[in-house]
Amino acid sequence: MSLLREKILSTASHLFQTQGINSTGVDTIVAAAGTTKMTLYKYFRSKENLILEVLEEGHKDFQAWLSEKLNNNTSQPSEKLQKLFDFIEEWVTSPDFRGMGFIKASAEFPSEASPVHQLSSEQSRQFKQYISSLAYEANIQDADGLALQLSLLFEGAVQAEQMIRGSGSMTYAKKAAKILINGATTH
């Protein structure tokens, strides 16, 4: 990837997270990245394409970070499921946390016809599927049901934390997740 393209992508990502997607104009992005509109459109064709790329990159980074954490720190499938919320809490409470891309984008682009909304929904589904695969590995009978419960808990906690920093929502979500996982394991 060209250095300039990468610079535009990381600048846009930072601005979207801190100022919101709709309220960040292309002018602001090019000014902050030290480039021109023409260069931005050369690489991304439209603001919408830029948003889609930012979302894809962000989600890839998050999934890679989470998988690495889980694979390096746990070996048992059931342990992975338990540890999932520990790592998410670590991430959500870090000073750099600015929210979750697909959750923010979905709220800013509520129309189902919007490609940004569609990608956000797809990423939410992928995350649920990831939890589901961990639950299957851990031999949980209703793996999909548990994955849906945990993803609802997780997305709600992230949204609450996005609204009120330091809310502690993830701490309670973690406790609740443990109750749900224990319940699903014993059935």
């Binding site: 509520p110 929904s121 309670y172």
Partner: protein, 260 residues
């Protein structure tokens, strides 16, 4: 109308259940009913759920009130989190009506309430006065009887305990001091026993005499069956469930019962 911020929803929640926990959880049932109402256009429903994305002050205020009433550690966050789970689950239900997202959301919400509150979901003070008098009478009677017929009582307890052992597999293990599994209740367990308390509260119930309960089970019986407190672990839950089965309740409305 923004359904999640409507006075209609608050009215429905207020009359849905007798306890704050129950009222918070009925949010999911009410939304499910609303989404399954005939001729509801899913696009309009989606729009209504997403409108005013900044906040739902009416619902948040109501849920915060309920969270305070049930002793939540952080009522404001619990209220916000429950609203978000309900909204996300409702949105998913519109996109995929077969995924049961509101039922799963309710389970997640029950676990979240459990994580934020002490394990007392139906305090003794909420039970009716006659039941309290009944408990007091049972205890006085039990103390007197213990002094007078202690030997006979021990025999009686042994007999009762043997019946319990044979009819309930979880109680078949010896009820010694070391039999105290400390596994926490699951959200399903809590919801099931809570539903039982709710059901009993709608009837006139006859509890077994405390006198007939083996000493080892007495604390659990009084706290978790008569007192309506949520058991603290699965061991107590098994004992509580056994004695809950022995409670006889009449659910005939008072007026009908008197007219016979």
């Amino acid at each position: 109308m923004d359904i999640l911020n409507s006075t209609w929803l608050i009215k429905m929640l207020s009359k849905a259940n007798a306890t704050p926990q129950g009222r918070m959880l009925s949010l999911f049932d009410i939304l499910d009913d609303w989404l399954n109402a005939p001729q509801l256009n899913s696009a309009i429903a989606q729009q209504k759920l997403l409108s005013n994305n900044e906040g739902k002050p009416l619902l948040i205020a109501y849920l915060t009130e309920q969270a305070i009433a049930c002793g939540a550690a952080n009522p404001a966050i619990l209220a916000e989190h429950l609203m978000l789970i309900a909204r996300n689950a409702a949105q998913q239900s519109i996109q995929d009506p077969n995924c049961d997202s509101l039922a799963h959301g309710k389970k997640a919400a029950a676990a979240l309430i459990l994580a934020q509150t002490p394990t007392t979901w139906a305090p003794l003070s909420l039970l009716n006065k006659s039941l309290n008098y009944g408990i007091a009478a049972s205890l006085i009677f039990f103390l007197g009887a213990t002094i007078l017929i202690s030997q006979a009582l021990i025999q009686n307890h042994r007999h009762q305990f043997n019946i319990a052992k044979t009819s309930h597999p979880q109680l078949a293990k010896p009820m010694t001091a070391d039999y105290k599994p400390k596994t926490s209740l699951t959200a399903d367990d809590a919801a099931a026993i809570y539903a039982k308390y709710e059901q009993m509260r709608n009837g006139t119930c006859q509890f077994p005499e405390a006198l007939q309960i083996p000493d080892k089970d007495k604390a659990v019986y009084l706290d978790n069956v008569v007192g309506g407190k949520l058991p603290s672990d699965v061991g107590d839950l098994a004992i509580a469930k056994f004695y809950l089965e022995k409670v006889r309740c009449n659910y005939t409305p008072m007026l009908m019962a008197h007219s016979k």
